[in-house]
């Protein structure tokens, strides 16, 4: 019995070593999209499970929200109507401003940055490990999505696609510790790189000593990375620590609340840098 036990154990260990070898070899082989084969296959398979479980949870939430939890709907309805009236007034003011801006823009022959082609996608899952900040969206290469496409939300930049499969894609959030985006302070035009730190804040690195940065400054994308379109909101400067002339630490609070995201937009239009790279290829 003991001998059988040892054999069983060594059999398991053998399988584990074999599996380890296969995994290590697979991890070094890249698929056509430039993503390791193992990562692509595992993620593609698991995203289907995530899709199913997400649908189940969404149905339950829908059942609760639409049929059971309707106690405050009437008051909410009245508040929303009031809010809508206010927004209608604001909308008219904005339209007038937009018309004026459009006229000025055409005069200055500025390029219309807002003319980006986007694709809406639903979030079906979050990261498998608390050490990484990723999301899974329900659109993939079938819809023309590719790696390194920017993902945005109404509030600002969300992240970029890192693993696209046929029917789903993995999005690396800005706050992931491996994420980085070219950034610029809107007020002073100081440049830097906003990096994820693995928590809920971003770090603004590589900022010049001479740059003018204060808490509350708006940080937007610089477009220099070739992934994110220029001028999209990243967040607000939260903390600025200086040691002598040098910036010791600049912390940015992201504009997007990653915990309440349900839908996102994938920027399908390539950035000017990516367009020129594609033309060169």
């Amino acid at each position: 019995m003991a001998l059988l036990d040892i054999r069983q154990r060594s059999g398991y260990l053998f399988l584990a070593v074999m599996l380890g070898h296969v995994i290590l070899i697979s991890a070094q082989v890249n698929s056509r999209s430039g993503v390791p084969v193992l990562e692509s296959v595992t993620f593609g398979m698991f995203s289907e499970v995530q899709r199913g479980s997400s649908a189940g949870v969404t149905s339950l939430r829908g059942l609760w929200n639409r049929y059971i939890g309707l106690r405050h709907v009437e008051a909410e309805n009245a508040a929303l109507r009031r809010e809508l009236d206010e927004v209608k007034v604001q909308f008219q003011e904005r339209r007038a401003l937009a018309d004026r801006a459009r006229g000025l823009e055409s005069l200055l022959e500025l390029r219309d940055r807002s003319n980006l082609k986007t694709l809406a996608a639903e979030i079906i899952a979050s990261s498998a490990s608390p050490d990484f900040r990723t999301l899974t969206i329900d659109k993939g290469t079938l819809y023309g999505l590719q790696a390194n496409m920017a993902v945005i939300a109404p509030g600002g930049v969300v992240g970029r696609i890192v693993v696209p499969t046929m029917r789903a894609s993995k999005v690396q959030l800005l706050i992931d510790r491996n994420a980085a985006v070219g950034a610029i302070i809107e007020r002073s035009r100081a440049q830097g790189v906003a990096m994820g730190a693995g928590d809920q804040r971003l770090r603004l690195e590589y900022v010049s000593e001479a740059a003018d940065v204060v808490a509350g400054d708006l940080v937007v994308t610089s477009g220099i990375d070739g992934i994110f379109p220029k001028g999209f909101t990243i967040g607000l400067v939260d903390v600025v620590e200086k040691t002598g002339p040098a910036y010791k630490r600049i912390t940015v609070k992201p504009a997007v609340d990653f915990s309440s995201l349900e839908d996102v937009l994938v920027v399908v239009t390539p950035t000017p840098i990516r367009q020129s790279e594609e033309r060169r290829e």
Binding site: A16, V57, S129, R177, M195, D199
Partner: protein, 169 residues
């Protein structure tokens, strides 16, 4: 049969982690359910089971994440193996010792992961003490609750005793 059960537990932990986690605790994941499964298996089935569960679960989790494949696997393998040794060498049958094992295992797991990241030259902004402590606390609570839940099931203790006596024979 047992291996199938462990694989099912890992799969369930991954599904829960990726699906439910974003709806609770303000979307901030404070529990690593896969690590909880690894330590649970190690404490209840020994070091070899802990080692293998850690390897498989870690590699699956790695391949679903954006980091290097093998880092989480290695960390979970070590944690699973050591937790298994602790489970066989010490009496870890009460909630408090189990809480301590889950807590220490999470801290060790994070230390190995962050340490490997530093060795491999990955970007690091120091040790996130608060986040690690939060995750360790979350894992410990979930781990102890899982043990209590399984032991509350009718006939669970008898089945375990029978299983152990069958193995001795």
């Amino acid at each position: 049969m047992k291996a199938a059960g462990i694989l099912l537990a890992i799969a369930l932990a991954l599904v829960l982690q990726t699906t439910i986690a974003r709806f609770v605790a303000g979307g901030t994941v404070v529990v690593d359910l896969v690590l909880v499964v690894v330590v649970y298996v190690a404490l209840s089935s020994g070091s070899v089971a802990g080692l293998l569960t850690g390897t498989v679960a870690g590699l699956i989790q790695d391949s679903l994440s954006t980091g290097l494949i093998g880092v989480g696997g290695l960390a979970k393998t070590i944690v699973g193996f050591v937790a298994g040794i602790v489970g066989t060498q010490f009496i870890v049958a009460q909630p408090l010792p189990r809480f301590v094992v889950f807590f220490v295992a999470t801290v060790a797991h994070q230390a190995i992961t962050i340490g490997l990241g530093v060795v491999l030259g990955q970007r690091s902004f120091g040790m996130p003490y608060a986040a690690v402590a939060g995750e360790a606390l979350g894992n410990a609570i979930v781990g102890v609750a899982a043990f209590q839940l399984v032991e509350l099931m009718p006939g669970a203790v008898e089945r375990r005793r029978m299983g152990k006596s069958r193995l001795r024979r």
